[in-house]
Amino acid sequence: MKKYDVVTTISYPKKGAMGKTGTWRVFRPILDKVKCVKCLRCWIYCPEATVIRNKDDTVDIDYEYCKGCGICANVCKVKAITMEREGKKK
């Protein structure tokens, strides 16, 4: 990346600028790919850009940074995403 030599404070873009925000999570979104109808609502509404939109418009969740807000589960009309407590014993 191009670095600039100027007399001011400059920050450079980085994924995880505040660290691995996935550790903030209390509830974990679990995606059921069979139920998913690829409507992409979870992708467009995720405030953290951690619903990954694949080439074929299927979706995945980036657990490294997902903050567990539950918006994806809430906007999914076919209930393909459920929120489960982190560390819950199976």
Binding site: G19, I44, P47, E48, G68
Partner: protein, 301 residues
């Protein structure tokens, strides 16, 4: 415009300082998708300045300049002039501020830039409070809402920023909401294609500020529009067009939902329901919304 037609490109990078469920990052994602990488953003003091995250890193993959609270539009004017002198007229210059930075402290700089005809887009994400400093009232806070500086509920109505903007007769102004990404995207793309000053305000329900649980941000946005507490419209050269559900409410093709459907989910209005329902103040809110819509109908139907 369907969701699948919105660009894949992301200039908001995951792992920022934003609260879970943040409406500002939702709006930023759509904004970056609509305006593309050839954009420069000027951000005054507000949540977004924190969401950029800590030096030496930033969560925004777009050149961003931070500036004093009152100076977003003045900063954008300078950046626009600098780019123009260098012949870089294809770069979109954006001032991005909260409602405190827009309705209150930045209004002078904003009015000045609109009056001078600065070629930029001013975007206000309106979470109806000064949230970054811990939830104080702003000129955008609605009547009855609790904040740390309106403990029994705000006693004044919110300012009609849309009308103040319209008094500047700029080429383009619009109101949108995070719950309607396609509407937001369309308006941003349109603004980008117009020369001169543009103003876009985005309704941005804030979970910690409004005291609702973080998975409800989108719902709170939808209900703001369906209850008529917020209107989706655009103004092109003084011609006002209402959009989506707001158009149907304006034309009385649907009835707006009772305001209770929206406020009862927000802890900032809890004192209107507990220990006893405050019928009088709820009716005051309802009547005020009716008044606003009657005014809209008189002017724009």
């Amino acid at each position: 415009m369907a969701i699948k037609n919105l660009p894949r490109e992301e200039c908001y990078l995951p792992g920022s300082a934003a609260c879970p469920g943040c409406p500002a990052t939702m709006a930023l994602r759509i904004t970056f998708k609509a305006l593309g990488k050839n954009t420069m953003m000027i951000v005054p003091a507000c949540c977004t300045a924190v969401i950029e995250s800590l030096h030496p890193h930033t969560s925004f993959d777009i050149p961003t300049m931070n500036i004093a609270f009152e100076a977003a539009a003045a900063g954008a004017s300078g950046v626009e002039a600098g780019l123009r002198m260098q012949g870089k007229t294809d770069t979109t210059v954006v001032a991005w501020a909260g409602d405190g930075g827009t309705y209150d402290i930045g209004i002078q700089a904003l009015s000045g830039a609109l009056e001078r005809g600065t070629n930029f887009i001013y975007i206000c994400y309106n979470n109806e409070i000064y949230s970054n400093t811990g939830i104080q009232r702003s000129g955008a806070t609605p009547y009855g809402a609790w904040t740390t500086t309106t403990v029994g509920g705000k006693t004044e109505f919110r300012k009609e920023m849309g009308e103040i903007i319209q008094a500047h007769h700029i080429p383009y102004a619009a109101q949108t909401c995070i719950a309607y990404p396609e509407d937001m995207y369309k308006k941003l793309v349109k603004a980008k294609g117009i020369k001169g000053p543009k103003y876009i305000e985005i309704m941005a329900p804030c979970p910690p500020g409004w005291r609702f649980s973080m998975e409800k941000t989108v719902e709170m946005g939808t209900m703001a529009v369906e209850t008529g507490a917020w209107a989706l419209y655009e103004v092109e050269n003084d011609k006002v067009t209402f959009n989506g559900k707001s158009k149907l409410i304006l034309e009385k093709k649907i009835e707006r939902k009772p305001i209770e459907d929206w406020i009862k989910h927000q802890g900032r209005f809890r004192h209107l329901f507990k220990p006893k329902k405050d019928v009088k103040r709820i009716k005051t809110i309802e009547d005020h919304i009716d008044l606003i819509w009657e005014r809209y109908r008189k002017r724009h139907l």
